[in-house]
Point group: C5
Chain length 350, copies 5
């Protein structure tokens, strides 16, 4: 939520990095390929890949680290990207969205991963600029979920080498959405754990855990709902960048997004159910504690009153002098106690 | 929720089985019929039914067990099915959906059954590929709700032999949706049972049961809401596979789906109502327990104090020596006790 | 909810009665009229009214009892009704709906009545088939809310004799919707009663009553929401059966349906409010009970401790031998008690 | 809610008064004006104003009291109003709505006022029939929020004399909606009062007050939501009665209605918040009461046990004969009490 | 909520100030610029800026203080503004909205700032009239969030000097929406603070704070939801005032608004979560307090009863005379106490 403010007062399109810097280095990985050839290049020198733009090959230019204002600005100039797009790339608090420009499509989405130790979600922003012959991808840090994709390109596996930049972009979106399923699995397992805890041995900590789970669900929701719109617009766009052959894949991607949303919503409902269950369990326990207290007090308080009576020091208390009075009183008290127990049993308190 | 992950990183359209394998065997049942003739065949050999494709008869090819990658892939090749469709068939975690291709319609739905012993829902995925002259159906295991349908085809009962592949597919969807009513009945009876329990003798176990019921409702919801969209699109499609004569039936199917959804939503509301009722009952009981405790304590604590007074050992306590003091104190205490009882009765606590 | 299952596995369009049979007899009432003439007929013989079909008069054929498969089937054949429609007529668990066929309109709705003794809703299904010159109405039992309508036809009161079959059908829908207001009144009065009870003397039974009210509201909702769609489609239809002159009436009917829905929704909110009010009242009472207990215990427990002290049997307890010690102790205890009372008053507990 | 029933069974368009009669008298106020001239007339004689209909002036005919069946029926005949409209005018339980007829527009709305003493909303139904040269307005009783409007017409202030019947109707709708703001203010002040009460000195009565507030909000909501639709349709209508020059005013009116709805919805949320706050405060207080009880009981119960020990009458209790035993026991008890207090302080209970 | 009433009964378009007056002074700041020139002027004399209207430069006329009826009316006359617009400008309770007139666009929005000391939102209404060559802005008071914008104009930074009045208006809307992020940050930090408090040391005050937070969220929501519609309409308008070049900026603005709404909704959910967490914590604490009480009472009440027995004064109590009886009783009581402790430990109460 924090630090959204550095941009206030600046001219729209000003390049300012917004967010937590996740890496210091920046790197650029370039893959330039056609069905038969593949060039790979890691560089810091922007001039290297500026050569690639105009070939008929597909170029994937993957920029890691978006905090370098100068670099982003140079790339923007070279590819003639609208300043607002560059601004959005550097603002890592962006909401997932898609914008269609004449020569390229701009999409922002969230890469999400589940930290199983901290039981929390980690977010990275990924921006794509999809041109006719290139895809620019911008990531916040270097560790890379796109490696399997890169491997597929290297081995020429699947359709990826023979289809256009739209299919490449689709493949990247697909990897991202597939990753959501991993996160949902992590959350699902965590929820099952909590569920078991609530049912077996509920303790105070669970409250905090359920609350955190709720928050994580909210965060996830905030990331996936807009993605649905992104994918829907991408599938239905009339932009010539997206070819007819790619549409069934985009339709499939859209279906996956819906499935993610469905699961997130179900998780929300189940988290609420979990809290309700915990609170009900607690009410139940309070009720039981009350019963124990009430039973003990209800049995012994009257008895204590009776023994108190015969502890009084009046001169004239005839019962005190009867020989079997003591045993009679003990007997009467036993009968009272048993009567109470019978009453509680009838009321189903025991 | 679990095991959604094996596909991560693979090329889209890769054939990987996702889910719990419910059977080891695979079997293929073929029915090839026209209004006058019927051929039936059970085979493992794909070549057997590849002959059937091009006849003008209607062929129903029912594949049981979708974990056999090779078989699915061969079928896909023969019928020229898009790889994404094959991938979806093998992914048993699919959300119900429908996709329209040029030569066929692809639909996924959930077969649901109510396990009355476990009081839980069991799910099986069923995929249909509806071509002009054939229907391919894919089931996860062998036990078969389509048997009555098969019987109808054998006996030539109803319209089924004289209408096209679209009507056959409709008949299968209809059987599936009819089955939902059975599940709703099971859940309905279970809810009535719980309702009675909550009203008669609420115990701790009910909490768990209501929670589980809630979860089952959520699962059911997740299966039926998308089915509505599937049926709506099937009815409204402009695909030539669906003929005008079949539309009233699809409209009827759609109405049934809406009715299922209606009932699922009502069930959800009633489950919430049940939990509220249970919690209110609990509050009520806590309140009653408190009252008993308070009445007993409020009556006897002051009395115990009084008898305590006359148990003190001061030298100079004149009352102790009055001859009727003991009986007077007993009388006063009786009056106090009766006064309290009268007060409680006035306050409606008794 | 129960007994939805007998149809599972049957061919669509199979005629099976689904529901509770509410009568054993079946009867057919026929009215055949034009602005100047009126024929009336009660018959069991289907041939009687088959003669009527082709006159230019308006015929209202009212079938009471829909469990007679053979009769329904004969009527269907004569009027050339689609088998799915006949199936729906015999399934009394139908959701209100409307279907437009080339030669007739088929509408299903729920007749609802409020049983003031049982405080519950009773439902009967009514199906209408509206042709160009006839209306077929199907009811589950004989007692008849259409009697005033019949009277109007007999007396030639209003427009009913001079307008077409669409107006006749409208009149029947109108009577049904008007009846909903009676039910809402019954529920409204019952809610006011409950409200008063909750505010005046809440007892345990109210919980059950609120829960039942909630369920009745859910049932009512399930009956009226789809009716809205039915009436909206009827008003907007392009079918030539519905004439322009009838549309303002259908519009009015639609408005009434919306008003019913509005009231049902408001009732739902108020029922929730009632439960909240009851639970809050309960919390309040528990709080009060607790206060009484706490006040009594807090005053007397310390006092009892003090008198306990002077009940000890130590040899050396100098206070015991002071002459005014007893009265001093009594005085101190009175001061303590008054101090406590003052404290409680300051805390607003008294 | 009550008395919706008298119409059941009657022919649609039958004139029956539905509702509580708020006045016995009926009166008709007529204003007939053009930019330069103004005639005013109060009459009971319908013939008086029937003369006015066909002039090119604008006539505002304001009927006070809608229970006079004969009068309504005569007016209806003269102005050729559809019987359903007349029926709706006499049914004061109508939902706000608008209907467009060829020669006139019919609108129903609710005049709402806030009774600050009873803290409740009072409703009056106002119906408008807007013709090309006249506006008929029907009110339930005589006291009149339209007086300022009448004054404006008399003084020729504003546009009202020079614009058409549509502007006159707009002015009346505007006055009605402006009145809603007064009601919202009243409710707003009442809510602030309740809020303060809940935060300062919550008592039992607040529960009832919050519940009533909730109900009033529901009532208000039922009156204003349909009004939105009324105003939206009036603005967008293609009827020639509404002129282009009036549309900006109708747009403004629509905006005001939205603002009313917004505030009503916010009020609903805040009322819920108020109830939550009250209940939480109550929980808090119960918790505190419990703590006091627990502290007192936990300190004194063990001490009372100790003094009880030395009140026993065993022959052989050596401690009793030690000279400083009494003071030692007093000292030990003081230490125990202080220890407990320290423990409670550490637990943050004190 | 208050003081919405002064306008009731007035003619629409009457100029009356509605709201709290935030300043007494009024001032007018004028900037008149083209890409190369800039004139700046602060004046009270309306004649000064009336000269500017017809130049081809862009004029920004910023009016501070909207309570001066005469001034607003003169401006309105000069720029030929519809009276309803002027009325809306002077009504500071306006809902954010946009209206398109032939020669100008009228937009109302809320400037929001977060008062970190009072932990509350402060609102100021800003109205814009966007003509072809001018923008009129109306603020309630003088302190100015538009200063950075003014600075940008002075320095000729960014596009602002070379684009039209639509871009200038966009820049002002952008500053306003950027400001919302600052408010959201403030609220976010406050929520984190409250969250920590609830988890670490919940006290009574938190209840009030959560309630106030809830109310602030509601207020924020009321301000931002309509803004979405404003921005959406501005982007999609066909008015020639908004040029094609400005649309990507308006699209970006719309995205920011959606992001604000998203965050506001998430905040609402989290505030509810916070309340739930607090209440659950409270329940937990009550439960613990109960346990302590129950343990103490359950251990000591029976023991006190036992010592009471041997404090009775019966003549014939044989145990009293056994030499080791006292120690035996002490031992038995110790065993009972330990048994209870063991029982509580087994029940997980300790």
């Amino acid at each position: 939520m924090k630090k959204l403010s550095p941009k206030t007062g600046l001219s729209p399109g000003s390049l300012v990095f917004v967010g937590h810097k996740k890496t210091d280095k920046t790197a650029i990985d370039i893959m330039d390929f056609n069905p038969t050839e593949l060039k790979e290049l890691r560089t810091d020198n922007l001039d290297d890949f500026f050569l690639l733009k105009d070939t008929s090959d597909i170029s994937w230019i993957d920029i890691k680290g978006v905090h370098n204002t100068q670099m982003i600005s140079q790339i923007g100039e070279h590819f003639q990207i609208h300043p607002l797009v560059l601004e959005d790339i550097m603002n890592t608090r962006q909401r997932p969205k898609i914008d269609f420009y004449d020569d390229y499509i701009f999409a922002v989405m969230k890469m999400i991963s589940w930290n199983d130790k901290k039981k929390s979600i980690e977010t990275e922003q990924i921006s794509l600029i999809i041109g006719h012959h290139y895809v620019l991808s911008f990531q916040e840090k270097e560790d890379d979920i796109f490696d399997p994709l890169r491997e597929r390109i290297r081995k020429g596996k699947g359709r990826i080498r023979s289809m256009g930049s739209d299919y490449l972009a689709y493949a990247m979106l697909d990897v991202t959405v597939d990753n959501y399923f991993l996160v949902l699995e992590g959350i699902g397992e965590y929820m099952e754990l909590l569920e078991e805890k609530v049912l077996q041995k509920p303790d105070k900590e669970i409250l905090k855990e359920i609350y955190v789970l709720k928050r994580e669900n909210l965060m996830l929701r905030k990331a996936v709902w807009p993605l649905r719109e992104v994918n829907a617009q991408l599938e239905r766009t009339e932009s010539t960048i997206v070819k007819k052959k790619t549409r069934p894949f985009l339709r499939d991607l859209y279906d996956h997004t819906i499935q993610v949303i469905d699961t997130v919503e179900t998780n929300r409902d189940m988290t609420s159910g979990l809290l309700e269950l915990y609170l009900s369990t607690l009410s139940n326990k309070t009720n039981e504690v009350m019963k124990v207290l009430t039973i003990i007090a209800t049995i012994f308080i009257p008895l204590t009153f009776i023994v108190g009576i015969y502890g009084m020091n009046f001169d004239n208390m005839p019962e005190l002098h009867w020989p079997w009075a003591y045993f009679a009183v003990l007997g009467i008290m036993a009968i009272i106690a048993l009567g109470m127990l019978w009453y509680f049993r009838r009321r189903k308190w025991l």
